[in-house]
């Protein structure tokens, strides 16, 4: 039934004004991401500029929620964006993507990354411990990381592609929320499958039940594999019909994506101008 329900959101027909509003909302929820060994200050500058203003001002498109980079790139992003920016800096940390490192170095990494200027930390859970049955270790690591974050927000990456079953995803979501995560996130983007609709649905349901139990609203970030406007709209429909309007904002819902933004922009321009523009009309991130 999870798959069926998830598929039903994709069947909603989002047209005209609803489509335009949904697409702009999607842009405002994007964590524009570059996570490569070849990332440089120059590339990060491209990314930051794109996040600040995804397209010409006349289309009235909001800036992206954040840029998402490796820890070493945080200081460059901070330099480019300045101290006050509508675009947040998110950094993957804790031995991303595998998490197969000692806790001490993970925490040190988090502290330094926050000190360099990260607003948000995207940590990975210890899948080794989770799959070996040591759920307490997973919990303790998240709690310790949260402490190390200080003022920065913590997103907990479950890497659902490695957890495989919905039961595991649900349990890991609960652990992450109880241990202090502000967001739960599906994937690193380095493992296939990354985000899927059914897995995201299971996590949204966990968020809902946690809200009922504690009164705390946890955010959700599907990441990886969301490349088209149609997909993004289906995710928004899922959020709207599972958690309601209160989650339909960048404070509580994000897309982790790199190529999604330009597809969304292409659709926005089509909606405004009436016809499609070629890919060359959209700036590279």
């Amino acid at each position: 039934m999870v798959e069926e329900r998830a598929a039903s959101f994709g069947k909603r027909s989002i047209k005209t004004s609803a489509k335009l509003a949904g697409l702009k909302l999607a842009v405002s929820m994007c964590d524009l991401t570059t996570l490569e060994g070849k990332d440089t200050p120059g590339k990060v500058a491209y990314l930051c500029r794109k996040a600040l203003q995804p397209i010409e001002a006349k289309y009235d498109v909001p800036s992206c929620a954040a840029v998402c980079v490796y820890p070493n790139m945080v200081k460059y992003a901070r330099k480019f964006l300045g101290d006050v920016s509508p675009v947040n800096i998110a950094a993957v940390a804790t031995g991303f993507p595998s998490g197969q490192y000692p806790l001490r170095t993970k925490l040190e990494e988090v502290r330094r990354t926050v000190a360099d200027g990260a607003d948000e930390i995207d940590m990975v859970i210890d899948r080794c411990a989770f799959l070996a049955g040591d759920h307490a270790k997973v919990f303790d690591e998240i709690a310790a990381t949260k402490e190390a974050c200080g003022p920065a927000h913590l997103k907990v990456i479950l890497e659902t592609g490695e957890l495989v079953t919905y039961d595991n995803v649900r349990l890991a979501s609960e652990i992450a929320m109880q241990a202090g995560g502000d967001f739960i996130k599906t994937s690193t983007g380095k493992v296939s499958p990354a985000a899927t609709m059914p897995v995201t649905l299971v996590m949204l349901e966990a968020i809902r039940d946690y809200f009922f139990a504690t009164g705390i609203r946890i955010g959700m970030k599907p990441a990886g594999g969301i490349r088209t406007s149609k997909q993004a709209l289906a995710y928004l429909v899922m959020v709207k019909e599972t958690l309601g309007d209160d989650w339909l904002n960048p404070q509580l819902f994000r897309f982790g994506a790199s190529t999604l933004v330009n597809d969304v922009l292409m659709q926005i321009v089509k909606n405004v101008e009436g016809n499609y523009q070629g890919a060359d009309y959209f700036s590279l991130p």
Binding site: I14, V61, D119, R217, L236
Partner: protein, 512 residues
Amino acid sequence: MKSKLKPVKLSAKRVVVATNHAVVPLRERRLNFGDKWNYAPAPEDSKNYVIAPRHELFIGGKFVQPHSQKYFPSINPATEEKLTEISFADATDVDQAVKSARRAYEKVWSRMPGRERGKYLYRIARIIQEKARELAVLETMDGGKTIKESRDVDLPLVAAHFFYYAGWADKLKYAFPGKTPSPLGVAGQIIPWNFPLLMAAWKIAPALACGNTVVLKPAETTSITALRLAQIFQEAELPEGVVNIVTGAGETGAALVNHPDVNKIAFTGSTEVGKRIAQLVAGTKKKLTLELGGKAANILFEDAPIDQAIEGVVNGIYFNQGHVCCAGSRLFVQEGIYKTVIKKLRDRIQTLRVGNPLDKNTDIGAINSRPQLEKIRELVQSGVDEGAELNQSSCSLPAKGFWFPPTFLTGVTHAHRVANEEIFGPVLSVMTFRTPEEAFERANNIPYGLSAGVWTDKGSKIFKMVNKLRAGVVWANTYNKFDPTSPFGGYKESGFGREGGLHGLAAYCRLD
């Protein structure tokens, strides 16, 4: 859309965005299904599909005027606008139809090799697929069901039934090893209004595959797609008289049941009418299958995946506005999870979109007719009068047309009418139980026995329940799954005989 995130000052230098971490007090922990992001209307285009102002009877491969010259209006239940006029067939017309079917049976169809019959069925199935969108739109306009369902459920299943039985037409000997199957003759088939085209397919496809000919009587309120199917038979060059369609009301059906030259009656509809048909057929040589009412129990155990079960419960009762004989209209919840289930169900029905059935985003369409709406209202009122608590979606309903919001009743006991009578609308009666034994005893404590659902993560419990439940179909951890290969039919007052699969084939054969 607000473009800027709300910055929260943390230190002199740095700015971060804060999640709202204020703990919401218990009584305010509600999900807000408001209008922050409303879906714009997305209606399926119906302009290209023209409905003729008048529909004649289909007898002997031709459309002919009714003997009575009488017609009755067929309306769109979502708008109350008249769509067309339908012929009223009297006993004379029925006699003509049966004679035509008999001629076709003797001269053509029963003599035709199975592989040739199969070719016709395949051809019909393919044409249905080609015209699926048109048929779905007509079905939605005529009956009030959502385009989402007619497009994604009804039409694919209609084609699948013709394809499936087409495959059996030349393999009947292998279907029944050691037997020599032969056709019965002329089959009189009477179908309901909830799945007009699908029920026509369920009845016609196996009958033709086995070499029988057919006189079909569609329901009074939903004749349009059956007559469109007749045009498809013409296009497929199905020999004249193999299928005849007589439209009308109860009298037309009675004339068909009483006709002496009919060999088999197949009826899907209410238990009340089914009983009368059984009386009429008693003492004749006619074979009979009845698929009647139901009041299915959907049983939800504590160890079930509750969110998934809620989806099954919602699909079970609100699918096709609850106009489903196998609808899971009684929900039995194990006491330990009762409060959770009710809370989740309340939230879930709030997200169901009720309105224009042609809109692709509509989840719940129009009630099929005014009398049906009145029946639903009356039964729900009886539930409230007898002390049950009403839980309804606060959705707004269109001004014209026949509508009923998704509803469930809590605090229902076995002595309530709403626990025993088939409502045939989007209304669920919720009751509780403590143990598996109590669950199947309560589930079986009803004259019906068409279907049931069991929700648990424990396999052994599923098998135990399945063997104890007196129901023709039991779904485990799912609901309303249909497939042409799977037999469907009831226990007790839900009827006898099976449709679908090999069993459905056997109902149209003489096995010597």
